[in-house]
Each structure stands twice: as C-alpha cells, then as structure tokens.
C-alpha cells in the first residue's frame, strides 16, 4: 500500500509509528511535528527521521514556530505547502493517517 502519515506532536512515545510498514511510505511533519525537522533531541536528529520514508514538512507550520527551510536538520526533508499536501493525500497515496 501507499501510505501517508501526518505527525503533529513533538513527542512520540508509543511505538506504532516505528512499526508501520508500507511499500511506499511518506511522512508529513505538520503542527508541532515540525520540530522533528528542525531541532535536535539530546543533541541528535530526531529518531522520527530514521524511518525509511519520504519526508515532508509543512512550511507554514515551520514558519509559525520560528523556523525556515535553512533550519532543516536533514536535506531529505522537503518543505511543502497545503496545496501540495492535498495532492499527496488525494492522488499519490492510497491512505493517509494522522498519528
């Protein structure tokens, strides 16, 4: 399945995310999930980024919290806007979930 996941919390303590599997997996960091893209956790990049997936970050939620694309901790994270997210949901994935 082509699965999209929206992460909106800066703290992920349960293990569902780590265990999710899909042929194609995309992770969208939105809301407070954007912190995984721009700040470190104990000096290291967030473990959320360890997942084998395409990573996106919602630009407006990043900017709302005081960050820009220049702050991304990993070049694999692509900044997107809400219009692009609509395509990810409606066209490019079978299912999209809000974790």
């Amino acid at each position: 399945m082509k699965l999209g996941v929206i992460l909106t919390e800066q703290a992920r303590t349960e293990s569902t995310y780590e265990r999710l599997q899909a042929e194609k997996l995309s992770v969208v960091l939105a809301g407070n999930g954007i912190y995984h893209a721009v700040v470190k956790a104990d000096g290291k990049p967030s473990k959320v980024l360890d997942k084998a997936a395409d990573f996106y970050v919602l630009t407006e939620d990043m900017e709302t919290r005081g960050f820009t694309a220049g702050d991304l901790v990993d070049g694999k994270i692509k900044p997107i806007d809400m219009s692009r997210l609509v395509d990810l949901i409606m066209v490019e994935h079978d299912k999209f979930v809000w974790l």
Partner: protein, 119 residues
C-alpha cells in the same frame, strides 16, 4: 476530481488541529475536490455561533462560513454537541448536525478520508 472527507475531534482554539482541518478543507476545495467535514467530541466547538475574533485566539468561524457557502458540507456530532450544551439554537447557520452514522456514510462515498483524532 475526487471527494475528501475530513473528520476532526480536536478542540477549538487550543490545539491548532482544527485550524489545520479547516485549512486543508479550503485547499482541497480550491483544487476542485468535493469536501465533507465532520466534527465530533470537542471538535463540535467549531459549530458554536457567535465566536468572537481576537488576535490572541484562533478564529475559524469566518472561514467555515465561507466553506459552507462554497458547498462544503460541515456537520457536527449531535450528541457530542448537546452534552456540551450546544443546542440547535447555539449552532452557526447552515452548520449541520447529525448522529455519527452520517460520518461513516460520507466515508463510503469518499475517495479519501483523513481522520484527525487527538486533542
């Protein structure tokens, strides 16, 4: 073009999740998709009429009114609303109220569903 149904349980003002849901509905509508929106739990706060705009608080009422005028079906869970003291007369104009089966039925006729749980 396709149909998207968005469900949201999150409270007004507090979590920004309802802000996200409304923004996503608007963006999907602007791209030509049909959009349904279901609010349940604390999400039913979105249906309360008379929300006042202050710059310290999220203010979604105006955007929701525009979405409804634009053909988006926006519906609140009736029992969740009533338990909170939101009755028919407390509800924003053209904001519908149904029982939870409405949401499931909309899912059946939708190409995609995004369910936003959590606070």
């Amino acid at each position: 073009m396709a149909t998207l149904t968005i469900g949201c349980f999150s409270s007004l003002v507090g979590s920004m999740s309802l802000d996200f849901a409304v923004k996503l509905a608007k963006a999907a509508k602007e791209k030509g998709h049909d959009v349904n929106m279901w609010v349940s739990g604390n999400g039913t706060m979105l249906s309360k009429k008379g929300q006042r705009a202050f710059k310290d608080y999220s203010y979604l009422a105006k955007t929701v009114e525009a979405l409804i005028a634009d053909g988006v079906q926006v519906t609140a869970c009736e029992a969740c609303a009533e338990s909170r003291g939101f009755h028919k007369e407390d509800t924003m104009e053209n904001f519908k109220r149904h029982s939870m089966d409405w949401y499931l039925a909309k899912c059946v006729v939708s190409d995609k569903v995004l369910h936003i749980g959590g606070e």
